[in-house]
Amino acid sequence: MRFEVLNRNTTQDFRLRTTDFIKMSNGNMNLTLKVWRQKNAQTAGKFVNYKAEGISPDMSFLEMLDVVNEGLIHKGEDPIHFDHDCREGICGMCSLYINGHPHGPKRAITTCQLHMRTFHDGETVTIEPWRAGPFPVIKDLAVDRSAFDRIQQAGGYVSVNTGGVPDANEIAIPKVIADEAFNSATCIGCGACVAACKNASAMLFVSAKIKQFSLLPQGQPERYRRVQSMVAQMDAEGFGSCTNTGACEAECPKEIKLTNIAGMNLDYFSAKLFRQEELHEQGHGEG
């Protein structure tokens, strides 16, 4: 199918494409990796250069690191530590700040979905951990993102009564609202927004976790208390403030929209300035 399409183009285009295929089938990329190595949060880290040789362009970035680590283990060296789990772009565990971009230079993908064909043979690739005070380095490229868990615990939930199972679609929700809420809910909490933001602000993450509920009927009972609790926790963790640069939106693997932040602001100011019955202080049971 692909050849059919290409054949209709000029012969020159076809030749270019053929050489690409040859290059891919040979799988002979050699790269230099400039990797941040840090023993733990207490010790200072530094960059160490590694050779990644014979890398297939079809490998994912994490598989390439696996290959490098195998070599390191064979040599008796400490392998490079990095976070990963599902390797299919939905768990939010992988991170890595690659050549100045969280999850690498391609848009709307996680590091595990980044393929080595994005890079060219002989390239030097700089790999850094997420850099933020509230994300201390655990080791090398793995950072502690439990600040996000604490923000979630502060209010990122809905209360559900026990009892009989309600009918599906018992509560009418318009399609546009369901879609919007779902868009916010696709946030995987990877922290790329914090990594990309020049202020290390977590507002894209926090606002998505707020808006996924605030749009829906099920999210209404805790709506105004949720936004206050989560923002208070976000501030307590030491994240920076949003300056609406839009870098988070551009780098988010799930394309969470900047408009979530405006929605969070509106709910927060509404709660703080106009809804005295919802005030954070007046004891709603959160501890």
Partner: protein, 259 residues
């Protein structure tokens, strides 16, 4: 922590203060550019000087003026506080950073704001301070023949040091005596370095407001499919093009038409 403190000390509360003071300063710019367009009138500064006199002697405007000075200081102070906090949120920086995920002006609001603060200090000490608190601005007398409508201007030296302004009618002549700020404007705008500094500052305000105006509305939480494009349009064309360009033309025109 009191509720009031919790609200305005939170990251969102500080942003709210930045947005509100910023938008207030934007509205002031509209008035400022409107009044200053009188500089383009060929009347030896008659209209401009009367306008400057009105601004400094009409009590409601003086009240708003102090609110304005306060806004400038609060906007600057909160910008510093937020910048320090934002820097602290990333104690170890990146070795490689990219610049293609956000517009230049949005990443450099602090730099642009610092240029603007320096400009405001120089601008206000040159005109506002000298006008209000020193005798460095001379007086001028405008004599309008009420039958023909022709105005002539002459130098005027007040006899009393407490003299501020006067409007009298003598022998079918209306005589207006006011401080000649226009003369000081001409003096400042004949210095090429001053003109360059002013034009650069207006370039800074253009970029600052290109991001700042629409960003303030986002901070206030007002994003709407229908109205956000209007905000973007006004932020771009009025605040980032028309206003800075009008201001920048003032020193340029005065410099090239000086005697």
């Amino acid at each position: 922590m009191s509720e009031f403190k919790e609200t305005f000390n939170s990251s969102l509360g500080k942003k709210l203060i930045m947005a509100l003071t910023g938008l207030f300063l934007c509205t002031f710019l509209i008035v400022h550019v409107g009044g200053n367009l009188l500089l383009f009138k060929h009347d030896d500064g008659f209209a401009f000087n009367v306008y400057a006199n009105f601004l400094t002697h009409f009590p409601p405007i003086e009240v708003i003026a102090y609110l304005l000075y306060l806004s400038i200081l609060v906007h600057t102070l909160y910008a510093i506080v937020l910048t320090v906090k934002n820097r602290k949120a990333r104690p170890v920086g990146y070795a490689v950073t990219s610049s293609d995920n956000a517009k230049w002006q949005s990443r450099n609001m602090g730099l642009l704001g610092s240029i603007l603060f320096l400009f405001i200090v120089i601008h206000m000490s040159d005109f506002w301070y000298n006008y209000k608190y020193t005798d460095n601005v001379p007086y001028k007398e405008y004599r309008t023949d009420l039958s023909s409508g022709i105005t002539q201007s002459v130098e005027f030296v007040p006899t009393s040091p407490k003299f501020e302004n006067s409007v009298t009618t003598e022998n079918n002549f209306e005589i207006v005596r006011v401080k000649d700020l226009h003369e000081r404007v001409k003096g400042s705008f004949s210095n090429v370095w001053y003109v360059i500094f002013y034009v650069l500052a207006m370039l800074a305000i253009s970029f600052h407001l290109r991001h700042g105006f629409q960003s303030a509305f986002r901070t206030l939480g007002w994003v709407h499919k229908k109205y956000t494009p209007v905000v973007q349009f006004v932020g771009t064309w009025l605040f980032a093009v028309i206003i800075p360009l009008s201001f920048a033309l003032m020193p340029i025109v005065y410099f090239f038409t000086r005697n």
